[in-house]
Amino acid sequence: MVRGARTKRLDNFMSAKSAPDSGKDAAALGLHRFGFGSTGNAITRIAADPRGALLADLERPGAGQLDAPDLVSSAEAAREVFDFRAERTAEQKLASRRQKEMSASGEAQPVSEPAKLMSLDGAALAQKPPLPQRIILSEAKARFDAAAGADIGFAERLVWFWSNHFCVSADKDVAMVGAYEREAIRPHVLGRFADLLQAVESHPAMLLYLDNVQSMGADSIAGINRDKGLNENLARETLELHTLGVRGGYGQADVTNFAKVLTGWTWLGPENPLHGGEFVFIKRLHEPGDQMVLGKRYADTGVDQGRAVLADLARHPATAQHIAGRLARHFVADDPPPSLVSKLAKTFADTDGDLKQMAKILITAEESWTAPRRKLKPPAEWIAGVIRLTKTQADIPISRIMNAQVALGAPLWRPPAPNGYADSEAAWIDGIPRRIDIATEFAGRAPHAEPLELLESGLGPLASAQTRETVARAESHNQALALLVMAPEFLRR
């Protein structure tokens, strides 16, 4: 850190922007648009070949995977949380039983515990969070660390994209959301869409989230015995959100029949000590018979009937179009260039949904680099960018980051609906004033950071003269950093 040079450099910043260096321009654009934002010397480092660097991010060993050996599987988490809750219930029951016995025997009522005040000893804060929260905190931390610590983060961005495309919610089941992403999404983000789809739709977290665990064929053994029947939620959302898209050419009959196909796809209850929480196909719940979906007859082959429908949905031209549009919209623009969407859709069709090829097209397409930098970063991506730039990963507890996501209306793994978080400026722009508060707090956690150095490493050639001046004239380090991460060039990509 050359502090002596700072005052002089500050004057340079106030003067007009130097001639743009196209390599650095592209590098900075690429890092923000496709990665989690620039940090350190990344702009300079990849300036010689920004596209090559982004493509190389996909070829790293373990790209998209999480190295977190301490995290438990979704099934294990489900069982642990079940046991935890059972113990809690038993404790409460014992306590109320004791109280009843005492009042019956005329003994004094136990004095209720005095309310915990926040005092200097912090007893209230030191309490260990309950197990479900601990699980989600450690999952969140592993995920966030992967983003904040990534070299470039293109593969991680793909993970976030697909996780949102195939979202589940902690409001439905808190134990499995984190593991779901690791088990169903990550292994396939650079693989085939068909495999991703199979993994997602058969994961217990999804089966719970979209109610398929309650669905049964009206004519199945269980359905007859219990007078129950279909829940078409999973079938509908698979067609509407996950594959074909809302106007992808299916009708109500397709939804109903597909729902019948999916009956029996469920999980083993978490009370089961060995395999609780795992996927299971239960024939007793499955609607017997062949089904017509999108004009094609699927023979009743049990669990394979559903696998066959998913395999065809994954190859459907409407799916190619839908996925291409979503990808282009997420990475490039709210209204992506139609030519880019066509390229992506064609690649999807030509490669049988090879998601790595899709990612590569995203990088190599000219449109990806010429589209104006107008896309507003969604809240969590912006937060990750702030933390990467200020190198505050170790200083900001994950609970604080999750709080910030809540404050910005994007709580982690708790989307408001199965279509996930919105991918448009309109959805997030009203949260900008709240981002100023968060920027101010998070910036304050980086007391050693040099705002003008971070401006270079975070924005470099993207920074406008006005932004440079605004940051340089800030009244404190803290304010300078907050202004930097709230600059339009940092908010948008």
């Binding site: 502090r3 200097l120 804060l125 004033p433 956690r445 406008s464 404190s476 948008r492």
Partner: protein
């Protein structure tokens, strides 16, 4: 349209961050004293001449024209002595002064002579003669030199490991507890204004959102307003300052609480529409004044063993600039308040205000080294070792003798 109006509870929770040392100073305790010391850093460069006006200087009104605070007029200043008078927004400080519980140090500065906020704050807090060379602050190093007479609260370190924003002044080897609010703290009005200006230049859509949010635009267009309404509102700033500083006092007042603490208040960078008698600076000073009153009342009986030092990185230009504000300058005021002081005095070696008296014909010339004042307080209040004050706390300050007779 969403206007974020924090609830009282939210403000309480958001009330700043306190950094505190959990030990009793041994020497002072052996004397039967239990001193409390709070440092408040005013970030942004406080206009010392607008805070404590040299109304007795014949050049004063020439220098600042109609922006010069005087003893008469619409906003009469509060008389301190025959020469100095206090900004009318600070009646509580005035009462403390009259009760000999406040000292104003004028025309003072750190050794820093450039005009960068970053470097200026760095030097103010590090206590070193050059910016950028320290990872620790003078307050922390002063505490490391004090022999602790045992921890006030041995369990304290658990809570204070939460890991908040630590100002440089308290960073360093001495164990520091910290308390920070569990909620996201609202950004300062000043930050919002700066972003709004940037967005108006570069991104109309973002500007629109901020304008809607703070209702700034609507009020500006309605005309007739002489004064820009604050995004966060003066009442909120007041509540915020009082809560931040008042909470610090509550901690320091506890019998088993910390004895030494520090916090920072932002927002003093008044380049345009300064509002010395009415407006932005007046509101900020009023908020600070109420915060000082909150310290006194929250300290309770411990007030008589308390010293609070308020310092800013540098002053502002002696003259008003072209936008009814002041730019970065040099000397300014430092304030001491507390029941332990030998107060009721303005400590100043007045440099004068003639153009030739000004530093670079621009700023109030520094005649008192802020380090002398701080050294005096640390030595006489906390019983810091004088040699350590020169060698480790403020290295390179051999020629800067501690100011005597500040503490009773």
């Amino acid at each position: 349209m969403q206007l974020h109006t924090p609830s009282r509870r939210e403000l309480l929770l958001a009330s700043g961050t306190l950094f505190a040392w959990a030990h009793l100073p041994k020497v002072a305790q052996a004397e039967g004293r239990d001193p409390r010391f709070l440092t408040i850093i005013l970030r942004g460069a406080l206009d010392g001449l607008a805070t404590v006006a040299p109304v007795g200087d014949p050049e004063w009104q020439t220098l600042r024209g109609d922006k010069a605070l005087t003893l008469e007029g619409n906003a009469p200043t509060l008389k301190l002595d025959d020469f100095f008078a206090l900004n009318p927004a600070m009646p509580n400080l005035h009462r403390m002064f009259d009760a000999k519980e406040a000292i104003v140090v004028h025309a003072s500065a750190t050794p820093y002579r450039e005009r960068s906020h970053f470097d200026g704050q760095d030097l103010l807090e590090s206590g070193l003669p050059k910016p950028g060379s320290s990872e620790s602050g003078w307050l922390n190093r002063a505490l490391s030199g004090l022999a602790p007479a045992g921890r006030v609260n041995p369990r304290g370190s658990k809570l204070f490991a939460v890991g908040p924003v630590t100002p440089l002044v308290v960073r360093g080897p001495a164990p520091v507890l910290s308390w920070s609010p569990p909620r996201v703290m609202p950004a300062s009005e000043d930050t919002v204004h700066r972003l709004l200006a940037l967005y108006r230049d570069c991104d109309a859509k973002l500007a629109g959102v901020l304008e809607d949010n703070s209702k700034l635009m609507a009020v500006e267009q309605s005309g007739g307003m002489t004064q820009k309404p604050a995004a966060a509102g003066p009442a909120q700033v007041r509540a915020y300052f009082s809560e931040a500083v008042g909470t610090a006092a509550k901690f320091l007042a506890q019998p088993d609480g910390p004895r030494v603490g520090a916090l920072a208040l932002d927002g003093w960078d008044t380049h345009s529409n300064e509002g010395i008698a009415q407006g932005r600076l007046s509101q900020l000073l009023g908020a600070l004044d109420e915060a000082l009153a909150a310290i006194k009342s929250n300290m309770g009986p411990a007030w008589r063993e308390t010293v609070v030092a308020l310092a800013t990185e540098f002053g502002r230009t002696a003259r008003i600039n072209g936008t009814d504000g002041t730019d970065h300058g040099t000397a300014t005021v430092a304030l001491l308040v507390g029941g332990a002081l030998k107060g009721g005095r303005v400590v100043a070696d007045w440099p004068g205000l003639k153009p030739t008296d000004l530093y670079q014909n621009r700023d109030l010339k520094p005649t008192t080294d802020l380090r002398a004042v701080l050294k005096g307080v640390l030595r006489d209040h906390l019983r810091a070792d004088e040699r350590a004050l020169t060698q480790t706390v403020f290295p390179g300050s051999d020629t800067v003798k501690p100011t005597s007779e500040l503490v009773a």
